[in-house]
């Protein structure tokens, strides 16, 4: 066993000392806080533990997921309290979507001034600005691909001076791209037809009988 060293961290305005080798969430537990409002999956997928943090040598803070970040000497941490941006009630359309479909619910997307703030704010390393520009030219498949790893933490919307909600627009574009995928999954459609026409019924009888006896 290695002897555990301590590191000094700052949470909000309070200074603490915690053992090295912990994630920020584990450090909070160590400090006596259950963090119920800031923890979800503990696996870097849900965005509940979004933080802004800064190391002593750095000028500007960066964003991160606290369950995926190790404490280190001098780390300054602030927890975000949820994503206050509004989700529009945006049903899927009946007709093939275009960029207008997206703009109908997220019209502010057109106001992007290409400042890059959203990209620098994304803890998942998504080039959010490029995603927004792709939506502006109406390439929904590219937007969809761009936001694949989005954990919906809402940092991008929080920092956007043009009041754009890139993640919400991105998720809607993803759903459009999925529901209106240009080529149908032919094999899947065939399988559904086979099942409903009873094609496997005889095989089922045999197998179920054998399985009951097993």
């Amino acid at each position: 066993m290695t002897i555990s060293q301590s590191v000094a961290i700052t949470v909000g305005d309070e200074k603490h000392t915690v053992p090295e080798g912990m994630t920020v969430i584990q450090a909070m537990w160590h400090l006596g806080d259950a963090m119920v409002k800031n923890v979800g999956c503990l696996g870097g997928a849900c965005g509940a533990c979004a933080i802004i943090c800064r190391l002593p040598g750095q000028m500007l803070p960066k964003t991160a997921l606290a369950c995926q970040t190790m404490v280190s000497e001098g780390l300054n941490i602030r927890f975000l309290q949820g994503d206050p941006s509004k989700k529009e009630i945006a049903p899927l359309p009946a007709e093939t979507p275009s960029r207008e479909t997206v703009f109908q619910y997220y019209p502010e997307t057109r106001r992007c001034v290409a400042c890059q703030a959203c990209t620098s704010a994304c803890p998942q390393g998504i080039d959010v600005m490029v995603g927004v520009r792709e939506a502006m030219i109406g390439d929904l498949a590219l937007v969809a691909e761009r936001f694949t790893t989005c954990v919906m933490c809402g940092f991008c919307a929080a920092v956007c001076e043009s009041r754009i909600r890139p993640h919400r627009m991105g998720l809607y574009a993803r759903r459009l791209a999925g529901a209106f995928y240009p080529k149908p999954p032919t094999q899947l459609d065939m399988r559904i037809a086979e099942i409903s026409s009873g094609q496997f019924d005889r095989e089922w009888n045999d197998v179920m009988q054998a399985a009951q006896n097993a």
Binding site: M1, T2, G21, M22, Q26, W29, H30, G32, A34, V36, K37, V39, G40, C41, L42, G43, G44, A45, C46, A48, Q68, T69, M70, K87, I89, P91, L92, Q124, G125, A144, T148, T149, C150, V151, M152, L171, Y172, R174, R175, L176, A177, G178, A179, Y181, P182, K183, P185, T186, Q187, L188, M190, I192, I195, F200, E203, W204, V207, M208, A211, Q212
Partner: protein
Amino acid sequence: MTEFELSKQRVAEGRESRKAAEMPRLSADEKEALLHRYHPDKKKEAYATIRIGPNQGQQTVHEVVRLLEGESPLTSKAPDLNPAHQVDVLIIGGGGAGSSAALMAQAAGAKVLMATKLRLGDSNTVMAEGGMQVAVSPEDSPVRHFVDSLKGGQMANDRTLLKALVSEGPEVAKWLIDMGVLFDREEDGNLSIRSGGGSSLPRLLRCKDYTGLELMRVLKDAVLNEEIQLLEFSPVIEFLTDGEGTCTGAVLKDLDTDKLIVVQAKTVIAATGGIGRLHIQGFPTSNHYGATGDGLAMSYRAGAALTFQDTFQYHPTGSVFPEAMAGLLVTEAIRSVGAQLLNVKGERFIYELETRDAVASAVIRECQEGRGVETPAGRKGVWLDMPLVDVLHGAGTLAEHFPNMVKQFSRYDIDISKDPVLIYPTLHYQNGGVKIDVDSESTLKNLFVAGEASGGIHGRNRLMGNSLLDIVVYGRRAGKAAAKRASEVDFKPLTLSHLDPFQAAKKAAGVVSETVSPILFPDYVNKG
């Protein structure tokens, strides 16, 4: 160089010569012997007899016995049970099963209320990586999917439940796609499929290694679009019954105010997920913060029977180094594309795509018999050689197909395209749970249970990718059936009188319990 470093070097040196080597598969007898000797489910000291309730006399692990025999946070005389909400269907849990159920119940015209412990979507579902099994390829069939799952489940699966699962797979995949779930596709538009452990053909639909995130994001968005009434940070702490064997509602606790909220419901769907955070037998876990088996404890006290409550899935490849990552999952899909398992000597010891129970047992064997690698924090593990994937399929394969894995390890300065990682089995899944019928109804009338909280579908071992399918198929079934039932019945009295016979049985059996269940969250807070 430390033993750790030396061993890692041996793995790198052996890579070229190992890359094409075949590993023999286990015979049925060998597998049986391996499981018997090393699988945690077979460890007698870890088990105890349940002394009260519907499964009295049967066995499960100490941690679950404590939960089932626990004290209620309420007593039958306690609070006034005036309902703050009256709904047709109360859905408990905001993962994939709960969300699917909510969408179907709402679509059937029911008045729905969803209550969840954390935020909607914070769950095990959101973390699933590998994929969802659906028999779509022309060579494949639902029958074949059934047979594979039955073999994987040690022939113990409930046949009726399993048949419905595999038969509805294609329809459910279509439902998801129509909702906008972006599964990976082939050039020709067909769904791209990958193989998983224990399956005779490739059948895993996936979205890179973010399948659960993709599924959960879309389901959550659909639930919000439908404006389904939602209470977050409001765990259920006890079910209500009419005192005569019918579930009539539930008591929730608002985590902000600690106030109780009484809900009267014609039907209740429990979709509360798994038990990983109970750390059974001291194992680390891959599960989310709220995976504490609440649904099991509450259903049991209200009179619902459990099934296969004694069997758990220890996923063979949980990370053990660095310490902060302990328990975190390394997806099985990485073995599907060729990553090998190696002991301290750099030797392979199991065919990597045996079922999970067998691979986990083999890893435990290596470590128990001194062929494991010790981490600086004192854990034991074996190597998972991920760089081999890039050797086999070309540089960049890991980055393209496993971006999540690459990112998670890079946060700790580990480049998985260059270095192997250390793994050990992690507590991953509850194979059993509340016993249900094919409409997802438990043995307690009007209580439906869906997803990981239920049991029977997977027998004694779930195949990779069958859980994501399970939660959508049975979430939907529960939603439909509960809405239909709600249209046929009236509200019934709200009581906690089922707690009295439970208390009496405890007394008679001499059960003294120090656990209050449901426990809601694991106790990680340092009280120092």
